[in-house]
């Protein structure tokens, strides 16, 4: 078992492949499930939690697909390792910060994970690069069926799958898509888009930040309601709105190009140069500048770097990743220096090459 094996690969959501991957980073489906035998987490004492983790992980290991996964005992991981899994989107912040026995199965390809003792007993999630809900749903549905053979789920004939929070009851399903929307942010239209999404019961969240404060212009759109609609209807609800937002973002990009191509290119090249040459740089600023450069690549304003590299940098410059790369724990100031060094090494120019060529 090792976390390090993941260091040399990139998870599906940062591969930068798949349909519409210039704007759609990843598609994700998650299911909330509870084991009928145990009370919800709120009413589980330490012994219940330990029993729950032990008995569920043992039964899940019998499923071939999960038997091949890495299993991490999250409670015995160091904080930096928990943070590392959060940055790779393999576990939620809630699972990282909870107390007591808890764990996670992680697919070796990082395309899915199963968390034990999160807000609900089980949280299954499947991720795909680009816009690909169907594949994500097929996989999570099969995984859910396989678990259902081993475990008796808490289910109510009227309310469906029962969850600790009534906001998840019914299907227990959250369908989400992560989008990179820098042009809608630059043209100040993003709030308008959000308001219209909220009207049709879709939730919008920033990638790492809370509320609407999104770092690096990454936004996650997901269904708000989980009850009264079938899984297919929920997939369609989110799936239908994505092309609309993509077309808005494309229009905004075109508007920026038509209005001030030179100005935009200057901003992109300046962002790139700052990333290359900083002596120290914060995580927030890195995300902000990488976002500019990513937009520049997609608009062919800069040729020095490609999308997979940029996507990787978004993740590898996060605090826990930097510390894993360095092999030692660092405070914020040390990380800001290490981040600048890392960016410098990754963005080094062969001599005489301009980033434009």
């Amino acid at each position: 078992m090792s976390l390090e094996r993941f260091a040399n690969q990139v998870g599906p959501w940062m591969r930068g492949t798949g349909p519409q991957s210039d704007i759609v980073i990843s598609s994700r489906v998650r299911l909330a499930r509870n084991v009928a035998e145990f009370p919800f987490m709120m009413r589980c004492n330490d012994i219940d939690r330990a029993n729950l983790e032990a008995s569920v992980s043992r039964r899940l290991r019998e499923i071939p697909l999960l038997g091949e996964c890495e299993y991490f005992n999250v409670s015995s991981l160091k904080p930096v390792d928990r943070q590392y899994l959060v940055e790779r989107q393999l576990i939620s912040r809630e699972l990282a910060d909870n107390n007591g026995a808890r764990g996670v199965f992680v697919d070796r390809d990082e395309s899915f994970s199963v968390m034990i003792n999160e807000e609900d007993h089980l949280r299954l999630q499947v991720m795909r690069s680009g816009l690909d809900f169907e594949a994500a749903w097929d996989q999570i549905n099969a995984l859910d069926d396989a678990i259902d053979e081993k475990i008796c789920y808490a289910f109510h004939p009227q309310y469906g799958y029962l969850t600790a929070c009534p906001t998840n009851v019914g299907t227990g399903m959250r369908v989400s898509v992560m989008l990179h929307l820098p042009a809608l942010v630059l043209t100040k239209q993003i709030e308008k888009v959000f308001r219209s999404l909220q009207k049709i019961n879709l939730a919008v969240r920033g990638l790492y930040g809370e509320g609407s404060q999104a770092m690096g212009d990454f936004y996650q759109i997901s269904n708000q309601l989980t009850l009264g609609k079938s899984e297919y209807e929920l997939l369609k609800q989110v799936g239908d709105v994505v092309p609309v937002i993509i077309s808005y973002e494309r229009k905004a990009r075109q508007f920026l190009l038509d209005g001030s191509r030179e100005d935009l290119q200057r901003q992109v090249l300046k962002a790139y140069a700052t990333l290359q040459r900083s002596g120290q740089i914060s995580s927030e600023e890195t995300m902000h500048l990488l976002s500019k450069v990513r937009l520049g690549i997609n608009l062919e304003l800069i040729q020095a770097i490609d999308i997979p590299t940029i996507n990787r940098l978004f993740v590898h410059t996060q605090p826990a990743h930097l510390q894993k790369l360095r092999g030692s724990e660092m405070d914020t100031a040390q990380r800001n220096k290490a981040r600048a060094n890392y960016l410098h090494s990754q963005l080094e120019q062969p001599s005489g090459d301009s980033p434009l060529s």
Binding site: N34, A36, E37, F38, P39, F40, M41, M42, R43, I47, D48, N51, E119, N141, D144, D145, D148, E149, I151, C152, Y153, A154, F155, H156, P157, Q158, Y159, G160, Y161, L162, A164, C165, P166, T167, V169, G170, T171, M173, E210, G211, L225, T226, L227, G228, K229, S230, E231, E233
Partner: protein, 169 residues
Amino acid sequence: MKCQRCDKQAAFHITDLTGEEVSSVHLCPACAKVYLEPQQAKTVETSSLISMLSKQLKVGQTAEQLAALDQKVCPICGISFFEFRKQGRLGCPHDYTFFTEELEPLIVNIHGVTTHKGKTPTHRSISSESQTQLIQLRRQMNEAVEKEDYEQASQIRDLIRKLESGESL
């Protein structure tokens, strides 16, 4: 009436039921937005759930009725309605049955409907009653283990397996 935080006209009259004591505030739209803004510690979802619940309870209930409702405790997991109201999390699957009267309007508020449409467990579907029995049996089994009464514990274990395989007791 003036806003309690600035001099503008108050448009929001909020009865706060989330704390130990019921309090009222009168605010203008701008101050109300700040007041209702979720606190850092809570997720947006939880706090909107709690405020939704508060709003819903406020309608047509006296303080005494609310206080009585808060005392209501689920016999299976022991969570009181007050605890659910404060934390926005239920204690066990039986709560959906036990607090159904209070939860239904909330579920309508959140989802617009109260009936599940979509997949159902295929392999191990058992009745709600059996599910509740499972939680009780598991607790009895733990108590038996603590008392080192392993014979009783293993008997209970067999009952649990029986229930899980779809038989009723």
